[in-house]
C-alpha cells in the first residue's frame, strides 16, 4: 500500500488563513458542521502544524503571510498535501491588482490541489476532497 493511500484514510487538516476576506474561513467551518460532517472521511481540523497531513491555505499572500507559509511548510512533517482554498488561493482572485499582493501560494510552496470558488460552497469543498482522495488511492 502506498503512503498516499494510507494518508487518504485519515487526513488531519491545518488551516492557514492569510489575509482572507473571511468568507472562505466561514465556509470551511461550515463544511465541518454536523450537516456536512467531514469526519465521515476521517478528516478533522487540528490546531498544530506538527499533527497536520494537509495544509489548507485560504486568502491571498502578502509579504508577511508568504514568509509564514514558507516556515509552516518547512516545519511540517512530510508527507504533506497542500491544498489552496478559494479563488484567492488559486490566483489572487479579486485582489490580483492589490498593492500588497505577493503572488499565489504555488509561487512559494508546491501545491497539490486547488478548490476554486469565491467562496467555495461546502459541497464544492467535499467534492474537491473526494477528488483528491480518489487520486491518492488511484481509483
Amino acid at each position: 500500500m502506498s503512503k498516499a493511500a494510507i494518508l487518504s484514510r485519515s487526513i488531519w487538516v491545518f488551516h492557514f488563513a492569510s489575509a482572507a476576506c473571511n468568507n472562505c474561513d466561514i465556509e470551511l467551518i461550515d463544511a465541518l458542521t454536523p450537516r456536512f460532517d467531514l469526519e465521515r472521511f476521517g478528516i478533522k481540523l487540528v490546531g498544530s502544524i506538527r499533527h497536520a497531513d494537509c495544509l489548507l491555505v485560504s486568502g491571498i499572500m502578502n509579504e508577511k503571510g508568504a514568509t509564514r507559509l514558507k516556515f509552516l511548510y518547512d516545519i511540517a512533517p512530510k508527507p504533506l498535501a497542500v491544498v489552496t482554498f478559494g479563488s484567492c488561493g488559486a490566483s489572487g482572485g479579486l485582489f490580483t491588482n492589490s498593492y500588497n499582493f505577493y503572488g499565489p501560494p504555488d509561487k512559494i510552496i508546491p501545491v497539490d490541489a486547488y478548490i476554486p470558488g469565491c467562496p467555495p460552497r461546502p459541497e464544492a469543498i467535499i467534492d474537491g476532497i473526494v477528488k483528491v482522495v480518489k487520486k491518492l488511492r488511484n481509483v
Partner: protein, 301 residues
C-alpha cells in the same frame, strides 16, 4: 509465556485493538449525539497507521532524548497495567501482594510523561499544557486515592485477588452505601485521568492548540494516541474489578459498555472547565465525598 502476556494477550496488542474499538464507539456515539454520521469503524486504526508513516520532527530548542523517550515510557507503563488488570480478570492467581498499589502508581506515569515531554519540547503553549496537566494531577489524585481506600478498607487487602474474592462472596462493593459513593467519585476522577471533557484542560484544542502534544508528530504522537486508546480500556476495567465485581465474560462486557457510555455522556454534555475551577471542584467538591465514603466504610456501611 511472560512475554506473550505482555505483548499479545492481555497486554499490548489485545488492549490496543479493544481500545481502538472503544475509541470508535466514543467517536460514533458523539457523532450520533450531534446528529452526524460519524467516522468509519476502522478510523482509529487508520489514524494510528497514518501516524506511523509520517516523519518525526524534533523542535530546535527541545531536549531531544527526553522528548523522544517520554511517549515510549507512557506506552510501556500502560502496557504493564493492562497486563496486570487483564490477568486478574482471567485468573486472579497471577496477582502478587500489593498489585493494586502498583497499578495506581503506574497509571500516574502516562500523565507524568505528558508533563515531561511537553516541558522538553520547548514550546510555550506546550509548557502551558504541562503546567495545567500538573495542576490537574495534583487535584484529582487525592480524591482518586480516597475513593480507592473504600475497597481496601472493606477487604483489608491491597491485592486484586482478595477484593475480587470478597465480592464473589458478599456481592459487589458498589452495592453498599460507601461503595457507591466511592465508585461515583472514582468515575469522575478517571474522566480527568482520561483527559476527556470537562477535564481536557491540558490539551484544550481550541485555546492552546493541542497543548501538551503540540510539538509531537508522527510515530511519537502515535505512541501517545495508542496510550490513550489503551487507557480507555484499562481504567474502566480497573474500576469495575475493584468496585463492581465479580465479573464473568459477557456480564463484564455489558458493565464495561455501560461505564464507557457514562464517560461519553459526561464528555458530551459538559463544557470544559477552567483549571482553577477544576482544582476547586476536585478539592472542595469531590474530596469531601471521598472522605465521607471512607468514614462510612470504617463504621461498616
Amino acid at each position: 509465556m511472560v512475554l506473550f502476556y505482555y505483548i499479545i494477550f492481555p497486554g499490548f496488542l489485545a488492549t490496543f485493538i479493544a481500545g481502538g474499538v472503544a475509541s470508535w464507539i466514543e467517536r460514533k456515539l458523539t457523532a450520533r449525539i450531534q446528529t452526524r454520521v460519524g467516522p468509519p469503524f476502522l478510523q482509529p486504526f487508520y489514524d494510528v497507521r497514518k501516524l506511523f508513516i509520517k516523519e518525526i520532527t524534533i523542535p530546535e530548542h527541545s531536549s531531544r532524548s527526553i522528548f523522544m523517550i517520554s511517549p515510549i515510557i507512557a506506552l510501556a507503563s500502560i502496557t504493564v497495567v493492562a497486563t496486570i488488570v487483564g490477568l486478574n480478570l482471567i485468573n486472579p492467581a497471577y496477582g502478587f501482594n500489593g498489585d493494586l498499589i502498583v497499578c495506581v502508581y503506574l497509571l500516574l506515569i502516562p500523565s507524568l510523561c505528558v508533563i515531561l515531554g511537553a516541558s522538553a519540547s520547548g514550546n510555550p503553549l506546550a509548557s502551558l499544557g504541562a503546567s495545567r496537566e500538573m495542576k490537574l494531577v495534583l487535584s484529582y489524585e487525592l480524591a482518586f486515592w480516597a475513593s480507592l481506600a473504600v475497597p481496601v478498607l472493606k477487604t483489608n487487602s491491597i491485592r486484586f485477588i482478595d477484593i475480587i474474592g470478597f465480592q464473589a462472596l458478599n456481592g459487589s462493593i458498589a452495592g453498599s452505601l460507601s461503595g457507591i459513593i466511592a465508585f461515583i467519585v472514582a468515575i469522575i476522577c478517571i474522566q480527568a485521568k482520561l483527559a476527556k471533557v470537562p477535564f481536557d484542560i491540558p490539551e484544550a484544542e481550541t485555546e492552546i492548540a493541542g497543548g501538551a502534544y503540540i510539538e509531537y508528530s508522527g510515530p511519537l504522537l502515535g505512541f501517545f494516541k495508542i496510550t490513550q486508546y489503551m487507557m480507555l480500556i484499562v481504567l474502566p476495567l480497573f474500576l469495575l474489578e475493584i468496585f463492581w465485581g465479580p465479573m464473568n465474560f459477557s456480564v463484564g462486557i455489558l458493565k464495561y459498555l455501560l461505564l464507557l457510555t457514562i464517560i461519553i455522556m459526561l464528555e458530551n454534555t459538559n463544557p470544559r472547565l477552567k483549571i482553577d475551577q477544576a482544582v476547586k471542584f476536585f478539592w472542595f467538591g469531590l474530596l469531601p465525598f471521598g472522605v465521607i465514603s471512607i468514614i462510612l466504610a470504617i463504621i461498616g456501611m
